[in-house]
């Protein structure tokens, strides 16, 4: 079909939402991923047979097998005829039957209530209660959404916080490094991203001084209203200490900031030194008056951790200490939504896994142990779900990259993909201190995959260093 001239088109860059078009964030995922997709063309000789993609926090893509229990429950819900006969264990059937009863018309094909299936929300609230050592959790403060990113940005919380017509513009503090979709969604809403720098020398710790520096940098530029924290971190896989969390909460209270606690990697904590403490729990432990007043939204998902069910798109947000009048509007906003039902089924399993005595428990325990024992190498870079090591690139490589019009770490990652068939993300995509370069990869992979990755990386790195010596 012929193209009309640019000036006649409606959808020219001039005439569409500038906030959408004005992004100057160069996410290079697309060229990288599309190259990766074309990699499997026959007749192209490579030293590897398959590309290993660990650029995303996507365990299944990286080779982790889904949890059988959850898939059996999904199967029984999708095709109840499966429950006739002995193919499925008793606890699978019971779970599926219980969940189907919570669906309108007994089918996973019906719309769920806007906030999510009430019985599943109840299960989520009980999970939170147990996780946080008994601190009350109220189901009416919980909304199930098509993924945590949806809850944060697409439909709700940020949308409520960000007044796109305000002058000065709304600011949201975000860490550096930070996942690009968070920044992109902020700017698309008309907010200003206000960076605070995590401290690499201290294991990517969050230091309150940097939060103050961030606020100072915002003076005259925007009006910061919220502080976005991701704990455990992405891409830098740190886990905040209780002390640190409480310092952040005090800071937020003092500076009147709404806390956005992205805790989707809370189940990816392994290593004796680290323990995940939720923001809600830390807040409650501080006690009144802060525990009654600091406003907090915390996010979790079925996409990470043991489940890794990213493709099902289900997460939830818990809202704490919000003004009831505002909650009324949030409720309205959510009413246009409907979360995928299969994902909610998976979420139910996540918050309510097989228990000792259940027929499916032994297998569940085995898989759980396996995931939680992946710990190799430097504790600094392997807390949480990601590694974000620094790479020291020789000047010749940096020069070559510039000639190709690429950031040095992007250049490194592209070569790594082409020559070794391993897909990482370059630190450029997340932000880093000027003059430093990093690579990011997800470590939620089977042990043998991780071994293969490290082997290929090591070979590639030596060759790369030799080439640019």
């Amino acid at each position: 079909m012929g193209a009309s001239s640019t000036s006649e088109r409606l959808t020219t860059a001039l005439q569409v939402n500038k906030r959408v078009c004005g992004w100057n964030l160069t996410t290079l995922r697309f060229p990288l991923v599309s190259r990766s997709a074309r990699r499997n063309s026959p007749g192209v000789r490579k030293s590897y047979r398959e590309v290993i993609d660990v650029s995303w926090g996507d365990p299944h893509r990286a080779g982790v097998k889904p949890l059988s229990f959850v898939r059996q429950v999904l199967a029984a819900c999708l095709y109840p005829q499966l429950m006739d006969g002995d193919k499925l264990m008793v606890d699978v059937k019971q779970r599926a039957q219980r969940l189907l009863k919570t669906c309108a018309g007994g089918s996973v094909g019906s719309y769920s209530d806007a906030a999510g299936i009430p019985q599943i929300i109840q299960s989520v609230s009980e999970y939170i209660l147990r996780r946080d050592g008994g601190i009350p959790c109220h189901p009416e403060n919980i909304y199930i959404t098509p993924g945590s990113q949806w809850a944060l940005t697409v439909t709700n919380i940020l949308k409520v916080l960000v007044n796109s017509e305000a002058s000065p513009r709304t600011g949201v503090l975000i860490p550096v490094p930070c996942h690009s979709t968070t920044i992109v969604s902020l700017t698309a809403l008309g907010a200003v991203a206000v960076p605070y720098y995590l401290s690499e020398e201290r294991g990517w710790a969050l230091e309150v001084e940097t939060l103050q520096q961030a606020l100072d940098s915002a003076k005259g530029v925007c009006n910061p209203v919220a502080l976005y924290i991701i704990n455990p971190g992405n891409p830098a896989g740190y886990v905040q200490s209780r002390k640190c969390i409480q310092e952040v909460i005090h800071f937020a209270a003092e500076k009147k900031l709404f806390l956005l606690a992205d805790e989707v990697y809370q189940d990816c904590v392994y290593g004796k030194e680290s323990e995940f403490v939720s923001y809600k729990r830390a807040l409650a432990e501080i006690g009144a008056p802060l525990s009654d007043t600091v406003e907090l939204a915390s996010f979790h998902t079925a996409s990470k951790g043991l489940m890794g069910e990213c493709g099902l798109r289900t997460g939830y947000v818990e809202l704490v200490n919000l003004d009831p009048a505002v909650m009324k509007y949030i409720n309205n906003l959510f009413s246009t939504n409907s979360c995928p039902v299969l994902g909610q089924v998976a979420l139910d399993v996540m918050v309510n896994p097989p228990q000792p005595g259940d027929p499916s428990y032994p297998l569940y325990l085995k898989v759980r142990h396996f995931l939680f024992t992946i710990t190799t190498g430097d504790a600094n870079s392997l807390r949480g779900a990601f590694a974000f090591p620094r790479v020291f690139l020789p000047p010749k490589a940096i020069e070559k990259a510039k000639e190709a019009g690429l950031q040095p770490d992007t250049f490194y990652c592209m070569r790594l993909l082409e020559e070794a068939g391993v897909l990482f993300s370059p630190g450029t995509e997340y932000g880093q201190m000027e003059g430093t370069y990093h690579i990011s990869f997800c470590i939620m992979t089977p042990t043998d995959t991780m071994e293969e990755i490290l082997k290929r990386l090591s070979t590639f790195h030596k060759q790369f260093m030799r080439e640019f010596a």
């Binding site: 079909m1 409606l10 959808t11 020219t12 860059a13 569409v16 939402n17 959408v20 078009c21 997709a37 996507d58 365990p59 299944h60 893509r61 097998k65 889904p66 999904l74 199967a75 999708l78 095709y79 309108a104 018309g105 089918s107 094909g109 019906s110 719309y111 769920s112 601190i135 009350p136 403060n141 098509p146 993924g147 990113q149 940005t153 409520v160 796109s164 979709t181 698309a188 209203v225 919220a226 525990s291 009654d292 007043t293 406003e295 489940m307 990213c310 493709g311 099902l312 798109r313 200490n321 003004d323 009831p324 509007y329 309205n332 906003l333 009413s335 246009t336 995928p340 039902v341 299969l342």
Partner: protein, 491 residues
């Protein structure tokens, strides 16, 4: 943390207040799940607690959810989906080969061969290719490029995304979006949220809810004075009105869009739900291309489809797609970026969509059963559409246009003046007052016409035709009896 504190009752010194929150969010309303539904849910709770009512169940005829009302899913679809979810079943000889073949193909396209992996944000490529081929077959061979297909989380996701892209400008240059009255309130909610200017064009109730260009022109010209009209939305078959636009009408709309330089959004989620004699679904794209290159190479358009309606009724999977036509390539690149923010649409929904566009063929084992089930669903809907129109038109004070397509009826109700006055005295919109009373007295949940928009001084309600036939007959009867009682009470 005190109970009150968890609910944030103590409001002194809040960071996020009604005064400083995004003002656009305050304007968002969605009648389909609004106050009347909230009351219905409350009544259900009361019934469970043993409170005595004049009825034993609440019939939720407010939402277009077929399976909630007992419609069975299509066997073939569920078979493929279960094979995708639990691939061990591929060894089970109880499942037909054509289902296994499709499941394997879908799993091969998934990261790690799992539906639990993220897909590309635009959707799994081979599924987009299948969607493009489906569109080509449907539209008599007119080419469809898979790169122009975006899979989405239900059609709603795609609709809101396009609106996000198109709404811009300040003050008098603010984007105006033309939407039919009555309309499906997702549109008005999205427009409120985006602070776009809503431009209402009225469908003609006396002529079977038809669209006429004179009315489009009137609405546009008035709107030009205070905004920049750039988008025209049309739902065909219609929601809530069920009208199926004639081919001529679609041509007229395209012509109008071209002349007035408007982006067309064609919501076609009910494309298989066509019942009335003489009515046929014509896709906007097909008509556009049949109008020749002067139109097909210039008019910018997005058309939307979903797995929630038609004969599938799989609302809970959140499957859907849009096809964009003639979009500026640079803007399209930004659209691609925009959809990446929500990462990807649910993979089971994408898989389901693949089956909808790639159903069993005559030479395949599942064909007979599939066709039988599909035909039965659509035939039942057609019968219920006819029945609804017939019964409502027998009631003095209720006038019902033929339900030509979709899943709803939107009859006009005459309310006595005394009732209108009583409603106003109670601070209620008259048709909400009527519907609430119906809910309390009969346990039937409908959505008042005010939630969709209607001509001033007229009142309507939207009811779905989804309850099983026998139950539907009872519902129709109860509404009839209620209406007569109501009219009597307020005469």
């Amino acid at each position: 943390m005190s109970q009150q504190a968890v609910n944030g009752v103590s409001c002194r010194g809040k960071v996020l207040t009604v005064e400083n929150m995004n003002p656009n969010v305050k304007r968002v309303e969605y009648a389909v799940r609004g106050p009347i539904v909230q009351r219905a849910v409350q009544i259900e709770k009361e019934l469970r607690e043993g409170v005595k009512k004049p009825f034993t169940e609440v019939i939720k005829a407010n939402i277009g959810d077929a399976q909630a009302m007992g419609q069975r899913p299509i066997t073939f679809f569920r078979q493929v989906l279960v094979l995708c979810s639990y691939p061990e079943l591929l060894e089970d000889n109880k499942f037909p080969e054509d289902a296994k073949k499709r499941a394997r193909r879908i799993l091969d396209a998934c990261g790690g061969h799992s539906i639990g992996a993220y897909s590309a944000s635009q959707g799994i490529e081979c599924i987009r290719q299948d969607v493009a081929r489906y569109i080509e077959r449907r539209d008599g061979g007119i080419p469809s490029n898979p790169d122009n297909i975006y899979l989405s989380t239900g059609a709603s996701d795609a609709i809101v995304t396009i609106l996000k892209l198109l709404v811009c400008g300040e003050g008098r240059d603010r984007t105006g979006v033309m939407i039919s009255i009555p309309q499906y309130p997702l549109y008005s909610a999205a427009l409120a949220d985006l602070a776009a200017v809503q431009i209402n064009y009225y469908l003609d109730e006396d002529n079977c809810w038809s669209l006429n260009v004179a009315e489009l022109k009137r609405a546009l010209n008035e709107a030009k004075q205070h905004c920049k009209p750039r988008v025209l939305c049309i739902i065909n078959p219609g929601n809530p009105t069920g009208q199926v636009q004639s081919r001529q009408c679609i041509e007229d709309v395209i012509q109008f869009a071209k002349e007035e330089h408007l982006f067309l959004m064609a919501d076609e989620v009910y494309q298989d739900n066509v019942y009335a004699e003489g009515c046929k679904f014509h896709s906007f794209k097909k008509v556009l291309f049949e109008m020749g290159p002067e139109y097909s190479s210039t008019v910018e358009m997005a058309s939307f489809h979903s797995t929630s309606k038609c004969y599938m009724g799989e609302c809970g999977f959140r499957g859907g797609y849009m096809e964009v036509i003639n979009m500026d390539p640079e803007v399209k690149a930004q659209l691609t970026k925009l959809v990446s923010v929500r990462l990807c649409p649910p993979v089971p929904g994408q898989a389901l969509l693949d089956l909808v566009v790639n159903p069993p063929q005559p030479d395949e084992p599942s064909y007979t059963l599939f066709t039988k089930e599909r035909t039965a669903v659509l035939a039942t809907l057609a019968e219920k559409a006819r029945l609804t129109e017939e019964i409502f038109n027998e009631v003095p004070g209720i006038t019902c246009n033929p339900v030509q397509g979709a899943m709803y009826t939107f009859p006009r109700i005459t309310l006595p003046q005394k009732a209108i006055d009583k409603a106003k005295a109670e601070g209620k919109v008259p048709d909400m007052f009527y519907c609430m009373k119906l809910l309390e007295e009969e346990g039937i949940c409908l959505v008042p016409g005010s939630g969709f928009g209607q001509k001033d001084g007229t009142f309507h309600f939207r009811m779905t035709i989804l309850p099983p036939t026998e139950k539907l007959k009872v519902v129709l009867q109860k509404i009839r009896d209620f209406h007569l009682r109501f009219t009597n009470e307020f005469s």
